[in-house]
């Protein structure tokens, strides 16, 4: 019954983590899975104003991507905050990232609020957003 063993292992790991955190009395680094990169004020300011130079791409970006990727604290990596994108995307290829948009990922809905976007559009937008501002 591998599923049962896995559940027990998860439960023990969670309990151990909880007691460990309690023992630390609130000091020290947060658990690894909660680490997020806080952008610098200049990066936040850049994300709020940046837009692709290509007019067609900019129109898509304005109506689809910007609601979540241009304002800090939304849970999505900020436009121009390259390190946050690297942390999220890890070793995933561009094809895999495009597939994430097509199928949705975390809070991002399938097709990322752009039902008429092509894979090329998604690829170009990811390239724009993940490039340091």
């Amino acid at each position: 019954m591998p599923e049962v063993k896995k559940k027990i292992a998860q439960w023990h790991a969670a309990l151990a983590a909880a007691i460990l955190v309690a023992a630390c009395s609130g000091h020290g680094a947060p658990p690894a899975e909660t680490i997020t990169l806080e952008p610098a004020p200049a990066q936040i300011a850049y994300a709020e104003r940046a837009s692709p130079s290509d007019a067609t791409l900019a129109a898509i970006y304005e109506r689809s991507c910007k609601a979540c990727h241009a304002v800090n604290g939304m849970g999505a990596p900020l436009t121009g905050h390259a390190d946050a994108w690297t942390l999220r995307s890890g070793q995933r290829s561009m094809n895999e990232l495009v597939a994430n948009v097509r199928n949705g990922l975390n809070a991002m809905p399938a097709m990322g609020y752009c039902p008429d976007c092509s894979d090329e559009d998604f690829s170009a937008l990811i390239q724009f957003m993940s490039t340091e501002g």
């Binding site: 049962v4 559940k7 027990i8 998860q10 439960w11 969670a14 309990l15 909880a18 007691i19 955190v21 309690a22 009395s25 609130g26 947060p30 658990p31 909660t34 997020t36 806080e38 709020e48 129109a59 304005e62 109506r63 689809s64 910007k66 609601a67 979540c68 241009a70 304002v71 800090n72 604290g73 939304m74 849970g75 999505a76 097509r102 199928n103 949705g104 975390n106 809070a107 809905p109 399938a110 609020y113 752009c114 039902p115 008429d116």
Partner: protein
């Protein structure tokens, strides 16, 4: 929300208590799989020539023959005029009910978006109907205007949020569709009509909250207010005392709401009030971390309610946990990083307090519940199908993790709200049909008549709407 994982898991005596509990119950709960059997995170399979679509949470699904994204109003009018099959407009897909799905065509108006004009002297702004709420807020900030109020989530389109009666919180503030001064709409015949209160009062009253059933709106002119800053206070309090104080807090503060954490006895209260002077800006949202923590505590110890309650009493921060100031549009809405399914009912103010007491009791008795219950207030307006039509309402929203069961919304939660005269949020889960809605809305018959006049062939119907309106529906 400012409650960090670290703060939540400062277990203190809770850890010791864990050592004394029966191991068997631990293990049985730990092996429990909370995933509902029909959970499917993937898009539906679409045949050649079809497009796969699902809503944000994945429970509303369709494979339309066409997903049409018009570049202009004229292009859309031509499409509707010549279309022979069914058409449903779709916004951002944030409704949980089946308002948008169609096996015919779906129309996404998000290319018809952005600010088109404004008049600073009257505070009126004209937007494409596909403009997202946040996009509108950002563009208005540049010209010194703002929404008087905003809903929690602001990625919805104007058309989608207005059509479903989307709202924020504030006893003296109205739902966002109340800002509409006029709108342009494409009828089932393909005509473009301009609608305002003076020239077509009946259609104006019906079209503000229309469920997208009267036509496809392409443009709204809205009355806004000068930009303003807010101060946000968040504090944690025992649910019993918070409910007692709630009516007073709703009167004292511009915006008041709270989130109750099921099984913990505690809630986070949030107020927003006007702020003059420089702003502090805000910390990064930790809502996602908090939710992961609440889910984790449920997974770990949900089988033992008294331990869970003690654990949370010992670990939740007490008193004020956040005190920040910022521009209104930056504070009033957030994107929800964790997906969920939701039911929300709007109860008359006089029965809403008992409503939240009953809801808290129900969820405290549901060991698996962890998602916060949201409690808000909204002032009355005059849109025909607005849940807030003629009555100030208390809104109670209950959520379930996207992959978990929510059948108890219908079996347990909905009957409690209905017994108190509650009206459902149009975009959130409910089971009501025509007879129920006729009893709840004095103007429902007028809306049905108007809809039949505008769309005699049912071009804009789908199964969900046909159920609401008591119409036959054949593919």
């Amino acid at each position: 929300m400012g409650l960090s994982r670290r703060q939540l898991l400062l277990m203190g005596g809770g850890a010791a208590a864990l050592a004394a509990v029966p191991v068997g119950q631990h293990l049985a709960w730990g092996m429990k799989d909370f995933t509902r059997p029909d959970y499917d995170p993937n898009l539906p399979a679409a045949a050649d020539g079809e497009t796969a679509w699902m809503n944000w949470s994945g429970i509303a699904r369709a494979t339309p023959k066409q997903m049409f994204v018009p570049a202009s109003e004229d292009e859309l009018a031509g499409f509707v005029k010549t279309a022979t099959g069914r058409i449903r407009p779709v916004g951002s897909g944030h409704s949980f009910t089946g308002l948008a799905p169609s096996e015919g065509s779906m129309v996404d108006v998000s290319r018809i978006s952005g600010m088109q004009s404004y008049d600073a002297s009257t505070g009126t702004v004209t937007f494409g109907a596909g403009t997202r709420l946040r996009q509108a807020a950002q563009q208005m900030a540049d010209i010194g205007l703002a929404w008087p109020n905003q809903p929690d989530i602001d990625v919805q389109t104007l058309a989608g949020s207005f059509a479903t009666g989307t709202h924020g919180t504030g006893r003296n503030l109205t739902a966002i569709h109340d800002q509409i001064v006029s709108f342009r709409m494409i009828t089932a015949a393909g005509d473009i009509i301009e609608v305002d209160r003076d020239t077509s009062p009946e259609l104006f009253g019906a079209g503000k909250v229309s469920l997208g059933a009267l036509g496809i709106v392409t443009q709204y002119t809205l009355r806004m207010v000068p930009s303003y800053n807010l101060r946000r206070l968040v504090w944690v309090e025992k649910i019993g005392t918070l409910i007692e104080k709630a009516p007073e807090l709703a009167r004292q503060h511009r915006n008041f709401e709270f989130y109750y954490f099921p099984g913990t006895g505690h809630a986070a209260a949030i107020t927003h009030d006007l702020h003059d002077g420089p702003v502090s800006g805000q910390a990064t949202s930790e809502d996602d971390t908090l939710l992961a923590d609440l889910r984790g505590v449920r997974d770990l110890i949900g089988w033992a309610p008294w331990i869970r309650r003690k654990l949370m009493e010992g670990s939740l921060p007490k008193g004020v946990v956040e005190d920040v100031t910022d521009e209104s549009w930056r504070l009033l809405s957030t994107t929800r990083p964790i997906k969920f399914n939701e039911m929300e009912y709007h109860l008359p103010e006089e029965s809403g307090i008992q409503g939240i007491r009953d809801t808290v009791k129900f969820f405290d008795g549901l060991k698996e519940a962890f998602f916060p219950i949201e409690f808000r207030w909204t002032g009355q307006d005059d849109a025909l199908l607005s849940p807030f039509n003629s009555v100030t309402k208390i809104s109670i929203a209950t959520h379930a993790g996207v992959d978990e069961r929510y059948d108890y919304f219908f079996d347990g939660v909905e009957p409690m709200h209905r017994a108190k005269g509650g009206r459902p949020h149009w975009g959130k889960l409910h089971s009501l049909g025509r007879a129920d809605l006729e009893a709840l809305y004095p103007g429902f018959g007028d809306f049905l008549r108007l809809r039949r006049e505008l769309d005699p062939s049912g071009k804009f119907l789908n199964p969900h709407l046909a159920h609401l309106f008591g119409e036959d529906f054949n593919e």
